[in-house]
């Protein structure tokens, strides 16, 4: 197929939509690691819980905005519970932390199947976002435009939160030097819970947004999407929200372009990207060198 400019624009837009979904997962993963040095393997499970909760609320009320709020809230609550009851006992013990979050991943993933069953659930596109628009004569699902808008809004809000609020200041300082933050008398324990809840809520919000995009919710969606989040943070650098944004864009664009031309091996491009980053900048494009030891 001939590559034309309108086609390229269309593919780039679709890549941006994918990137938005990856960013919502990867930013929380990255923040949680940056502040608490926890690699949360249950992050995809938060995403999935967001999607299923959102779907349940959408089906019950028919209101997509309510579904978004409920999904994000479910993620935040789940984040608080998980942090308070398990994760907090293992701060500093990296091996046990990874094993613990692996166990949580299994439990939270299986609980979804206990409640909603192992089958796929159709996830309707909200009425106001149905249909397609034409951009340079190429069809583009209207809902995807909304996802792009939501992604931009989250990016701005997250930026404001990190750079204009006290919590953001503490979080940024915590990423830089956690010991110093504690020494200065900040209630680190509370900040840890808040960051964990924030990361989980971002992932869950991504889950609700992803529902109408894939038109389904399925029990492996958490792990399927978490893989992309890992690739994103390896490329962008753990601990950096900007890195997560850049990584998400690269992976989303790569996926959309390769997926169009060589769908069978679209995944291989991520393999190549990761290998390349590990060779030139093992700590990620925007990660800090000191963190990766």
């Amino acid at each position: 197929m001939e590559i034309t400019l309108p086609l390229l624009v269309n593919l780039v837009l679709n890549g941006l939509v994918l990137g938005t979904l990856y960013f919502l997962l990867a930013s929380g993963l990255s923040l949680i690691f940056g502040v608490m040095s926890v690699l949360n393997l249950a992050h995809g499970a938060f995403f999935m819980w967001g999607a299923y909760t959102g779907l349940a609320v959408l089906l019950a009320t028919g209101n997509f905005w309510l579904a978004l709020a409920a999904g994000a809230a479910a993620g935040a609550v789940l984040g608080v519970v998980v942090e308070r009851t398990t994760v907090r006992f293992l701060y500093g013990k990296h091996l046990q932390q990874i094993l613990l979050t692996l166990g949580l991943m299994l439990v939270l993933g299986e609980l979804v199947q206990v409640i909603w069953g192992p089958q796929l659930h159709g996830f309707p596109v909200p009425a106001f976002a149905r249909g397609t628009v034409f951009i340079l004569d190429y069809p583009f699902a209207r809902y995807r435009a909304y996802v792009l808008g939501a992604g931009a809004a989250v990016l701005v809000l997250l930026f404001l939160l990190l750079h204009r609020t006290k919590l953001g200041l503490i979080v940024r300082a915590g990423v830089e030097n956690p010991d110093m933050v504690q020494a200065l008398g900040v209630n680190v324990s509370r900040v840890f819970t808040q960051v964990f809840a924030l990361g989980a809520a971002l992932a869950a919000l991504g889950g609700v947004l992803a529902g109408p995009f894939f038109r389904t919710a399925w029990p492996q969606m958490g792990n399927d999407l978490q893989l992309y989040a890992f690739i994103v943070v390896v490329i962008g650098g753990l601990g950096s929200v900007t890195g997560a944004a850049v990584g998400s864009l690269l992976v989303g664009l790569g996926e959309a372009l390769m997926g169009f031309f060589y769908p069978e091996v679209a995944m291989a491009v991520n393999f190549g990207l990761m290998a390349l980053v590990l060779l030139i900048r093992p700590w990620g494009l925007l990660g800090s060198e000191a963190d990766h030891h």
């Binding site: 690691f33 040095s37 690699l39 398990t86 006992f89 293992l90 990296h94 091996l95 046990q96 990874i98 094993l99 613990l100 692996l102 166990g103 949580l104 991943m105 299994l106 439990v107 993933g109 299986e110 609980l111 199947q113 206990v114 792990n223 893989l227 890992f230 690739i231 943070v233 390896v234 753990l238 769908p263 069978e264 091996v265 679209a266 995944m267 291989a268 991520n270 393999f271 990761m274 290998a275 590990l278 060779l279 093992p282 700590w283 990766h292 030891h293």
Partner: protein, 330 residues
Amino acid sequence: MSKSQATEERLVAAARPAGVRLGWGAAVVAIMLVLPFFAGSYTLAVLIDAFIYGVFALSYNLLLGYTGILSLGHALFFGLGAYAVAIPVVRMGWSLGAAVMLGIGLSVVTALVLGSLSLRVRGVYFSMVTLAFAEIVHVLAIKLSRFTGGEDGITRIPAPAWLGDRTSFYYFALLVLVAVYLGLRLLMASPFGRTLIAIRENEARAAALGYDVFAHKLVSMVLAGLLATVAGMGNALFFSYVSPSLLSSLTTIDVLLMTMVGGAGTLVGPVLGAGVVEVLDTVLSSFFRHWLLVFGLIYIVIVIFLPKGIVGSVADWLVRRPAGGAPARR
């Protein structure tokens, strides 16, 4: 993996003469040798599965228990072994011997490439990178269905005639497991093995003493990958079936749990863990529809309350119990 644990291992080892320990091992092997005369075919099948996973767990333990690196992508090598037998033999009509050679070659090359990439980062970064690489290969195996059969996998992989009946397979699997166990025992007693443990205990110090940490870790990854490949080949031949789930992170989680349940950093632990998890899996999955839920909870409980696993905890208990008395070092 603390220093005190290493010390305790030595103390426990010193508390009992080597002959006694060897005697126990020989007794267990002897029981396993006569078992086919009493046990039914189904029991043998569960045990063969446990032996195969025992080799897989021993390979994983080389990384986690002895080198101190947590790979979340070890399923890649297990699946590689399985597919390296399945694709050439079923799709291309190769002989099994040729396929095995190809698999071993591929395994070494893959371990060298992925090892030199992923060992550039440490700690949780390493875990994440290995997980991502393995999952990418998992997805590719599903997508490239022309070669791999996609989600359906490849069926009817012929086992050679001498492995045709279950009892022969049982003895062969037992032989491989014992050989791998003894081989690893020798390896860990060698200067190379001692250096791996030094790296696990204190990487900076090992490097300062002049050991090439990267090279040692890389060799450890190649060896572990090779053993996992062998286990994967055994799995493909035993079930005469391969599917992409062999490559999934759940397979790595399985082997990780086996290693942790038995006790990472001990040689008996992973084998015992493989047996325990395999039997639990067989029994519990027939009772519970949501077996993974139980599996995950067991996981969390072990991580929080029994981080040293069965063998590590028993060793602790042996050291602390009064009758054992503060064992003097001979």
